[in-house]
Symmetry: D2
Subunit: 265 residues, 4 copies
């Protein structure tokens, strides 16, 4: 006695579906970092494929089965094979996977060198289409920004705040998450650390005051660094300052597709 498979029925509405799949499913995995080390984390996944006009439904359970069977380890290098496997398993032409997870770096405080973990929100996102992978990495780097106007016009002090710098990049596969984070942190008024001793706090306070940047300066300086790194092929870059003197944010966005620019030259 078989149970009917309603999803496999034909469909006559003549409307293809761009993406169909699952979202907001949590899954633990090991992310393999720059040095081949494994870092345990928990991801939130979104997985989809296209559905041609003649097919009623996709095979939802195959996404979940793939996640449970083939996603104990993830890395930028392994992501294309996973995208291809999913697209084939679902008998589709195009496939998409997005994994959001926290990534930790064991940072040394700037003066005392005391170590502590800092967390970064990462999104690894990829498509499989025309038998090719298309991968983007998105890193959210929390930093300090200090306002040049406030510094300039005030007799002392300057308002500063936590800021989020988000870089979503298409790369040549040779740049690691740690590299992108480092590139961004170099351009902030100062970096964040979980653990700072008093000599470290003195250092970051003075460093931020010595290095004031508008949200416009931050995106331009990060854009400049991304422009000068040949491993980055295209990017969308946003800085958001959680203004300490307002109850809203200041933000700025720069987009750059280097290949488009080169083609145009």
């Amino acid at each position: 006695m078989t149970i009917e498979d309603v999803q496999n029925h034909p469909d006559t509405r003549n409307i293809p579906i761009n993406k169909v799949g699952i979202k907001d499913i949590r899954h633990p995995f090991n992310f393999i970092d720059k040095n081949g080390q494994q870092q345990s984390t928990v991801g939130t996944f979104k997985m989809s494929v296209n559905l041609p006009h003649h097919q009623k439904g996709t095979h939802m359970s195959r996404f979940v089965a793939l996640l449970n069977e083939d996603c104990q380890q993830l890395s930028i290098q392994k992501f294309p094979a996973l995208l291809q496997k999913m697209t084939q398993l679902l008998e589709a032409d195009t496939g998409h996977i997005t994994a959001d997870f926290l990534y930790f770096i064991n940072k040394s405080a700037p003066i005392t060198g005391v170590k502590s973990l800092l967390d970064y929100q990462i999104q690894l996102s990829g498509s499989w289409s025309e038998d090719q992978p298309h991968i983007t990495i998105k890193v959210l780097v929390p930093v300090t920004s200090l306002c040049p106007c406030s510094k300039k016009i005030s007799d002392y002090g300057a308002h500063n705040q936590r800021s989020h710098i988000t870089v979503e990049a298409v790369t040549d596969g040779q740049i690691h998450i740690e590299d992108l984070i480092d590139l961004v942190e170099q351009q902030a008024s100062s970096q964040l650390y979980s653990l700072l001793k008093r000599p470290d706090e003195k250092f970051v306070t003075e460093q931020a005051y010595d290095n004031p940047k508008f949200v416009e300066d931050v995106v331009r300086d990060v854009a400049n660094a991304l422009n000068n790194d040949a491993r980055v092929l295209a990017y969308i870059l946003e800085a958001e300052n959680f203004e300490s003197i307002h109850n809203h944010s200041a933000y700025a966005v720069i987009e750059n597709n280097k290949s488009t620019i080169n083609t145009g030259a």
Copy 2:
């Protein structure tokens, strides 16, 4: 004695900024609906302009001043003028405003007709560029979906759940938020209401069971309705089912730019 205007300094990095402005600022306003009635609500706004490469900073306070002076009333019809005014005030070429707010419709229960408000999340979004406005309306319509497979294979019952159907549409300006919501609700297994008496609950229960739809069916049926409405020029449509038998969602997306299709034909 003047206070120096640091933002107005020249900039030599030669990097234009796509968007710079403010986000996550709350503001109360009256939204003018289909019948010219005003509905009081509270919006979360995002406002930005472009910044040419030679200018150090934008005029952040002008966004806030505009919001406080010119945003007591909002409507789809008034949005282009607001976009133009902001872009000019900021001495920019392009400008963008996004307003997210709750909108209420006083619905009648299907049998008893008892009235109650249902809330819908709306996003009114627009750009000003090349001296033209570009407006999109996004409505999130919560509905009931009932699984055809579960119904078919089970001797009785069928799993069902709340679903979110989101339509982001470019329109000809002749379609109202209420029309889009109504169009979507017609295609669900059944609609939601805040207040249902027992005869109403019997009705929506049986209606959903009589009208089972996969997430694929829902997006196709809403897409079909949008395709047949000449007032809708382009759309991105997503359905998300908060599956009652899983701890994750099923979702599907259809995008359609009718002008592109027509051009191609």
Copy 3:
């Protein structure tokens, strides 16, 4: 032909229920402020009653009907009558209503006096039990805090950030939301404004630098002000600093029930 009322059946498990009702229902209303002025806003409501052990279910639809029929206007003064009415309508002994909403104050910038709205998250919460109302008001006041340690140990500058000061208070009914907000803002390193001109920005920058406070200082100073205000009978007070040099918050909590202290004296 009647439709059976399953909720009204007797229950034999012998387990009373402390609270049963609805939550996360949105509803627009006018809040009546200190000066009798009405402010339009949108609330998120939670409404519940107790259920005695012998009754199977409560009357869920009566909560929604009450919200739609009797909640066009809300105020601290009107809240007890609403609580009593709900508890009676549901044929219960105790009832609880919580309304979360944004409230706006039109603030004047400190030097130029330019006006702009600032938003505050409010929670109005009440119980009806033993034929008496018990009301608490919770206000979340966003402010600036500046670190005394960072100022002291650094040759120049000092890290500062946005902070949230939350006061949940039982009052004698004679203190308004505006009074509580004002009381809190007086104790911060400096206040927030949506719109600041350059002379204002200079003022708040220097004011914060002149007025450094640890999270411990902030809660103590607000506690002191609350202790000295006879209209406040009890409170829970929390300050949270979104540290500009860390990716986590510092926080502190003081609770004080003045009547308990008085009884103990």
Copy 4:
């Protein structure tokens, strides 16, 4: 040359602080489960101590150092020692730690037995005071609920939805997270699984229809199970149904402190 320690200054305001510390700090760790197995996860921590009236500030960096040095492994059994150590390190009388994290159980589908991970939100929370630990475990268990009224009054079908059952329990230390989750899942209309084959979907659909429960029934049945388990000493229990026919939730709460009841008997 020493850097002044401002936090260690005396304070003359004569106001003790109930809790001061850090919150929203992310930290990866291994949780040791029922069988002594380690599960890697990422937690969000809140850590605080009391501060006597005569001391200006606490030692914020010691919380972070403790987290980085002593929190590679966590378990219910190890939690008291961590609480004691923190309270001593901070030279305080009372201390509090809360860790929120996702926990996964590899569940077997009810008919085919196919395995998949399901995620549960856990909160491990503890205090150290009067030289004693006080530990609570909170589990959020997502389940299916099916409405008895909808089933009874409808000719076919019944609305059902995902529900969250949350149990916060004080235990004797002999009950594990898995036990609490299992106890809760037994009382739902049916359980959730990430992966279900068609025979499994048929089973859970029919099981839910055979087992209709109001939100009131769910809390009473879970309360009954908790009352009958001697390892649970006290609890706060909430069920929330994300109603598939409304855009709001139904919810119910039962609190029970068995020792109070026993003392009273």
